[in-house]
Symmetry: C2
């Protein structure tokens, strides 16, 4: 068995966000997301069938919610997004890569 590294093999070209499934099965999916300056489309909310636990491992980001509240996530910050909690990514650091780990699961 050989480990992989969550910070390795990140393409330099990040014109779009990169989503990669790292592991999972059944009702669980573990995913790496790499952003650089991207935000969700202004008009759009994520409205997901599954819950999502997400942590920022490098970089910085801001999420906002339908009630107009928002959270700023820095290195090590995590948050749990229950299924159907409408949210969007307002902002990610423009000058460096933001590496997220997301776990999608069913309650």
């Amino acid at each position: 068995m050989k480990p992989d590294n969550i910070f390795a093999d990140i393409p330099d070209n990040l014109e779009t966000e990169i989503f990669e499934r790292l592991a999972g099965g059944g009702q669980t999916s573990i995913e790496r997301i790499v952003s650089r300056g991207q935000a969700s489309p202004a008009s759009g909310w994520y409205d997901q069938e599954t819950s999502e636990w997400v942590i920022v491992l490098r970089g910085e980001a801001r999420l906002s919610f339908e009630d107009r509240s928002s959270v700023h996530l820095r290195e090590g910050d995590y948050i749990n997004l229950p299924a159907h909690l409408k949210h969007r990514v307002d902002w990610t650091a423009p000058d460096r890569k933001t590496v997220w780990l997301a776990v999608h699961y069913r309650e």
Copy 2:
């Protein structure tokens, strides 16, 4: 909504490893583990009903397997441990805290 930080609220006294569930539901459990010098009992293997995806976020550790292979995990290294893959923690850094994130799930 308010984020928590994976590196916050770590007790200074780490005579034993600390396991804390951060989120989950259904067939998924997301857990923080903090170690400092601990290893599994020499005689014991973890033989788990569920699969476990684990990443070292700070510190360093070594896992070994029944076939006598072992892996050294440094910051950002992750590995997937299928259910019933017998493994043990051989070593964790004695001089600093090792912070793990583990996701237990069913395939």
